[in-house]
């Protein structure tokens, strides 16, 4: 694992390759003659790979651009620049016809189970709609059967097929949304905060379901969330986003147990842990100030305005997302990509040993 990391970006078998993805929303002034006065840089240079069968977690606070990345992956937003290659083909430059075929393979699960299902359609129509849009996947006669199978797969009674979304609870609705995402037998599922609107006791059910489905159908997930514990649980690799960029990326152990970027460390140290004993043992890094506006990103390192380590160099030089020099020759789990000039390992998540 550790050896492969350096070459990860070159791995030929990546099912999805994202390179230098940008999404800028222009800010205009004037009513009749609009002129651009700036841009909201929602996503500002994001690159990552997704291997088959892998779960890549993306964490970050609101406004960091993680949802915009998700939308670009499923083609709901067009990138301003950059490429998204699915099996080597750039989907941002595809013809509408070719795109339709690719869309089948990259599906999305939405956050809000109350707005992601059309209240005027029955569950059968909702889950069956993908077949109407892509009739080549399932002949007409077989569709009802397929929809019932899907209901069964996501743990709902197949007899519910004629009911309407409002007859279900939040957790059940999310299962319906997942069934719709599975209908076309995709290879990649992009899940944008799929459990954050659910109750705690229902979250676990849905997380387990997603994991079981991944095994059963060998799916690759891009799992976007703000809950760091859930992301660790479900992800093989985790990318941490701040103001439109990935600042640190690595395996779950590398990120959670050996974070080297100060933002990741602050984020992890702030997560409330369900263990009152940890209160005394934890050092909490309290960040000052607020996240800067994505329309006015600080020069150099974008985290420097809130960073306790920031020096002059940070304002001048943009740190690259690469293995920091300090760790390049080591063999420790701290050897992973981190966009910080002064990267250093810091232990912030309390482990069992701390409590003893």
């Amino acid at each position: 694992m550790v050896e492969a990391r350096g070459e990860a970006s070159l791995q030929p078998e990546a099912i999805l390759q994202v390179r230098d993805l940008y999404k800028h929303y222009p800010l205009t002034q004037g009513i009749l003659f609009k002129k651009q006065v700036g841009a909201v840089k929602a996503v500002d240079g994001v690159s990552f790979d997704l291997a088959p069968g892998e779960t890549l977690g993306i964490v970050g606070e609101s406004g960091c651009g993680k949802s915009t990345v998700a939308k670009m992956l499923v083609n709901l937003e067009r990138p301003t620049a950059g490429t998204i290659s699915y099996k080597g083909e750039d989907i941002t430059k595809m013809s509408p016809k070719a795109l339709r075929a690719v869309r089948r393979n990259i599906q999305m699960v939405f956050q809000d189970p109350y707005t992601s299902l059309n209240p005027r359609m029955t569950v059968g129509d909702i889950i069956g709609e993908p077949y109407e849009i892509h009739p080549e996947v399932a002949p007409k006669g077989s569709r009802r059967r397929k929809v019932q199978d899907l209901l069964d797969v996501v743990g709902l009674n197949p007899e519910y097929i004629n009911r309407y979304p409002h007859q279900f609870s939040g957790g059940q609705r999310q299962r319906i949304g997942i069934a719709r995402g599975l209908a076309l037998q995709p290879e990649i599922i992009v899940a944008d905060e799929p459990v954050s609107a659910l109750d705690v006791s229902v979250q676990a059910q849905v997380v387990n379901l997603l994991e079981n489905l991944q095994r059963e159908f060998s799916l690759s997930y891009v799992f976007i969330a703000h809950d760091l514990s859930i992301v660790r649980h479900i992800s093989d690799r985790v990318g941490v986003m701040y103001l439109g960029r990935i600042v640190e990326i690595g395996t779950d152990t590398e990120i959670y147990d050996h974070p080297t970027h100060p933002y990741t460390q602050a984020l992890l140290s702030a997560v409330p842990v369900p263990d009152p004993e940890a209160r005394a043992h934890r050092e909490r890094i309290v960040l000052t100030g607020d996240v800067p506006s994505p329309a006015d990103i600080p020069s150099g390192c974008r985290f420097r305005t809130r960073c306790w380590k920031a020096q002059e160099r940070c304002a001048l030089e943009v740190p690259a997302l690469a293995v920091p020099v300090e760790f390049r020759l080591t063999d420790s789990p701290a050897k992973h990509d981190s966009a910080c000039h002064f990267a250093e390992e810091k232990h912030v998540v309390p482990t069992e040993d701390d409590r003893e």
Binding site: S62, V200, S201, A204, Q205, A270, P272, P276, R284
Partner: protein, 327 residues
Amino acid sequence: MLLEVRDLHVEFHTRDGVAKAVNGVDYSVDEGETLAVLGESGSGKSVTAQAVMGILDMPPGRITGGEILFQGQDLLKLKEEERRKVRGAKMAMIFQDALSSLNPVISVGDQLGEMFQVHRGMSRKDSRAKAVELMDRVRIPAAKERVGQYPHQFSGGMRQRIMIAMALALEPELIIADEPTTALDVTVQAQVMDLLAELQRELHMGLILITHDLGVVADVADKIAVMYAGRIVEHAPVHEIYEAPAHPYTKGLLESIPRLDQKGSQLYAIKGLPPNLLAIPPGCAFNPRCPLAQDRCRTDVPPLYEVTESPVPRRSACHYWKECLHG
């Protein structure tokens, strides 16, 4: 005791029937103490708090029984006028959504100052000075310059600070915080929670923290009341509940959350769904989802069994709390 809720019952009349939102809740908070009320949506945790504050929408809500003793006085027996004097001055509430709780067309300084003008009869100028003082207190940078700004000019975390400032304005003895940090980002959440805990210590207030987040609870609470289907199912000092829960629901919740410090294998999931308040299962409301359920649980409503006596009493509404505790 600062606040004591005794056997509170609240119902809602809906078009589909009567929803029993709160079914006999007892809890208490002392000065300087933090009680966390933990529960999922529909557990009745917020409804109880609204009844305590006297801001329950009636109708459709109706308090059908119980007492709410604040400094020994039953609030439910007070006239609305007298109640209003308690609200704001002696107990205050902090809501989840700061943006919709603040008036968008009135400047922050005026909203804070209004409290002093209404309750303390201060002049506009004096109340302005008080507003700046409060904003300083909740550590809003450049309070003097920002006092004339409007809510939308502040970030989410800053707005929640303003809400806290507003709640603290008249130095109440009790603060009820309903999911105060749920809408905030994790780094901001920590700041706001720390601030709240610190001010509480400083002013020696009672704090009721309503939340669904087991992590937040562990960080700040002294004691915890876990609610399910309108009842308290477990009540315990914070350390004990995390070490050894005495109710299968609490146990299930604790086991179902993923951990930050290790990847873990498959999550434990409580089966089924939270109950429908229009048709709460007979016997123990948790029985259809409970791994320990026996025949008795389907017929007999479990009382709150005494698990341990002191210093903070520990109780569990499970017939088989011993099995749960040791199993």
